[in-house]
Amino acid sequence: MKIILNGKPFETQYSGLFEIRDKYFDSACITILNGFQTSDNLTVKDGDVINIIKKGVMPHKEELESLMAARHTPEVHGTVKKSRVAVCGLGGLGSNIAVMLARTGVGYLKLIDFDIVEPSNLNRQSYYVEHLGMYKTDALKEQIKKINPFIDVCCETVKLTGENCAQLLNGCDIICEAFDNPETKAMLTETVLSVFPDKKLVCGSGMAGYESSNKIVTKKVMKNLYICGDGEAEARPGNGLMAPRVSVCAGHQANMILRLIMGNEEP
């Protein structure tokens, strides 16, 4: 019987998952059959994809690839791996979006932000005390390396402007707008839509406070332009940005980016 074992073609006479595990590995290993982690001794069929991994140990590149392909299906995994996304602004939206895209297996991430990590960022942004004072680009690259070391991360520690925008974003298929300032959001939108009429842009607008999560939606507002958020709740004194709602909006943006990668243009 021919199976795929930890990412490689493998021939075996055993048809029980536990027999394969015990024969070639040891009984303490985790067994995953076609992307589904199981503690039952399921029957293995010809062509099945099996992962048998040591608990708590970093797998080799091929094994991790195979695990992700099994989880996400090989077709989705392969398409996501080939995608190239730029994240503009690495605050509450951008840092969380970049981490989600890394976990999803986006093969190339360009991270753009000029600023350093401050104590006031820790309430919602994906950084730790140990990152205080570091450039957000470097702090995030370090985290992504710990999540999936095989992702190609490119840091641009600069302020994105109407002038350098075209050069910095060239080479990415999907652009994620994750700035804090509404004027910068408008500038990026205007520039991307005029300079790169074929690229997709996914923006965030309105996610402050703790109003209902259900007000946050994804809308397609123009050809190639998507906006996530409630469109209203701006950050101001008395209505600050907080982790849950910012994360909900970041999730909307990351999922829209994933949908676009997979060729689905509906919000």
Binding site: A178, D180, A186, S205, A233, E234, A235
Partner: protein, 64 residues
């Protein structure tokens, strides 16, 4: 003319920035498409709109 699908009456050809300000938009926090083409901010004062034009205006609020 139309702004985001809503019918707006204008008598004569009017400067884009005048139309947008009259509708209460903050010109720095928006992106504008006229008949499907993006209009850069620098062109707001030089672009005219007529009654048969259609504008899509996207407004942004702060926070991220």
């Amino acid at each position: 003319m139309k702004i985001n699908g809503k019918e707006i009456k204008i008598e004569t050809a009017t400067i884009l920035s005048v139309v947008l300000e009259k509708q209460g938009f903050n010109l720095l926090k928006i992106a504008v498409m006229k008949n499907g083409d993006i209009i850069p901010k620098a062109e707001y004062d030089k672009t005219t709109v007529n009654d048969n034009d259609s504008l899509e205006v996207v407004s942004f609020v702060g926070g991220g």
